[in-house]
Amino acid sequence: MAPPKIRLSTTPTPEALAALKLGDIVYLDGLMYTAREGVYMRALEEKANIPMELPQQSAANFHCSPAASINSDGSFTMGAVTATASFRFAKWIGEWFEKSGAKLIVGKGGMSPETYKQHFVPNGAIYLTTVGYGTGALLGRGVENVEAVHWSEELGHAQAMWVLKCTNMGPFIVASDLQGNCLFERENAKIAPGLAKAYEGTRPATLKRYGETDDRTDELI
């Protein structure tokens, strides 16, 4: 059975967010900005002023750098758009919520259940994951135009803050809800009971690695 499809604003109301369920398919309308490690470090660690009115202009933070080019006349050529894995940004996300008022974090593969409980739930935010990965051409079609690119000289094109005007941009999948439930955790739990069968006829490696034991006084043979 195909999951339901929903249009959602990038400055969503609390009611619209409350209606979303894990696994729903979402298409976005409105302004969305990209921010990943470069923007987080510049805004949070170097305390640079964020060059947008957040969250009034956009409450949607995209963990992304688009395949786009900045032309010599200052215009932009937008190609494909795909997200990057979000779990790496956990250390900045709490402070980013405070500073940006974001309600939608959009990226690849979600974040940990602990991050949802600790940072998303108190801020009334949810996580949307891209699909695939990644449906770069489909998402590229959803970008009506590039409104601005901030900090491209300081951070390079891949880490710059791209402001995208989105129209029916998608698909995205709801990966966390307002209660902090986690879609990927739910799926992992369903898969877990079958793993033992797949591992029949295997054996652990003769030479272990640290990580398989966390006691550094252990030998690995």
């Binding site: 190609g79 494909a80 795909t82 593969g109 979600g110 770069g136 051409a137 652990p204 003769t206």
Partner: protein, 323 residues
């Protein structure tokens, strides 16, 4: 003499084709996988990917926003001569990579590992990689051509290496194969279903190279000429798809589009193993450029020829041994 202008213009076309056009063998493999996938979310993901390939071709837009790391494989016929020599060839490939990054456009992924300097063109120190192979002419004929292959392999995830030993046996190989899929398959970090390449033996570096080439330079459906290795490829494809995990780590059975294994003679005490995943955007494009300037485009790199897999001292010894 192979004209250098033709090499550069062909290389730019290859960058464009690799980024935009999913190779037919991978597309057929994904369609076959989608036809048997019964997980709701996993099925939705595969259908979205199939639509995405169409959208990419219609719009002439890259299929994935993450360009990965564009790289080059150059195979030279034994009699090929390049205008300007190998240095001119490398210049042409670097220039084509930079031009295509702005032209297609592609994402300029390549940065300095420490200073994060971005030239915004996917070119930098040791980037893009350019690797070489050579090929004799068939039946004594001249081989006056070069094959250019570009691969845009994505991925911070899905690749791993481990030193195994003869006592680990096939059971140990199986375990490390599954560990790699399960570890990187969760949440779909490996962007599966993928072409899984496995390198066995060699030294650590050759093991990695062989596994990566097995993933990127062989087409879906291709089998290793050693029938016992071919049987393991088949077994591992089935094993990977029986974990219970599908696209994006959702419940399903689409993990492996195909499995390719390449081997290299290794130290008698060891059994090196590497695992590589060539993702849902398995981007590769190939062209053969002849000395008279003719260019033929294709998607099968045809890299692993009998000559590439030779095991005797000389090439002629091997031909004679086969007769």
């Amino acid at each position: 003499m192979i004209p250098i202008d033709t090499i550069q213009s062909t290389a730019e076309t290859l960058m464009d084709k690799a980024a935009i056009e999913i190779p037919q063998d991978y597309l057929d493999g994904l369609r076959a996988t989608a036809a048997v996938e019964d997980g709701d979310l996993s099925s939705f993901v595969l259908q979205a990917m199939l639509e995405n390939y169409e959208a990419a071709k219609e719009d002439r837009r890259a299929m994935c926003g993450d360009t990965g790391c564009p790289r080059w494989y150059v195979k030279m016929g034994n009699d090929a001569r390049i205008e300007g020599g190998p240095v001119a060839l490398e210049h042409a490939l670097r220039l084509a990579t930079a031009n295509a990054t702005n032209g297609v456009p592609l994402r300029p992924n390549r940065v300095h590992p420490l200073w994060r300097t971005d030239h915004n063109n996917n070119v930098g120190i040791n980037a893009p990689e350019i690797e070489y192979g050579y090929e004799p002419g068939e039946n004594g004929a001249q081989a006056n051509w070069i094959d250019l292959t570009t691969v845009h392999k994505g991925g911070l995830f899905g690749t791993d290496y481990r030193m195994l030993f003869p006592s680990d046996g096939i059971e140990g190989i199986r375990r490390f194969f599954l560990d790699s899929l399960v570890a990187f398959g969760k949440r779909g970090l490996a962007c599966q279903p993928a072409i899984i390449g496995i390198g066995l033996g060699g030294s650590k570096d050759t093991c990695m190279v062989l596994g990566k080439r097995a993933a990127c330079l062989r087409t879906v459906g291709d089998r290793n000429p050693d029938p016992k290795i071919a049987a393991i490829e088949e077994e591992f494809k089935e094993l990977g798809n029986s974990i219970g995990m599908g696209a994006m780590g959702f419940v399903g059975k689409s993990m492996v589009i195909d499995c390719h294994i390449e081997v290299g003679y290794c130290h008698t005490g060891g059994m090196q193993m590497s695992v590589h995943a060539f993702c849902l955007s398995s981007r590769r494009a190939v062209a053969r450029i002849h000395a008279d300037g003719r260019v033929e485009y294709r998607t099968d790199p045809d890299w692993f020829t009998p000559y590439q897999r030779r095991e005797t001292v000389g090439w002629l010894d091997q031909l004679e041994a086969a007769e």
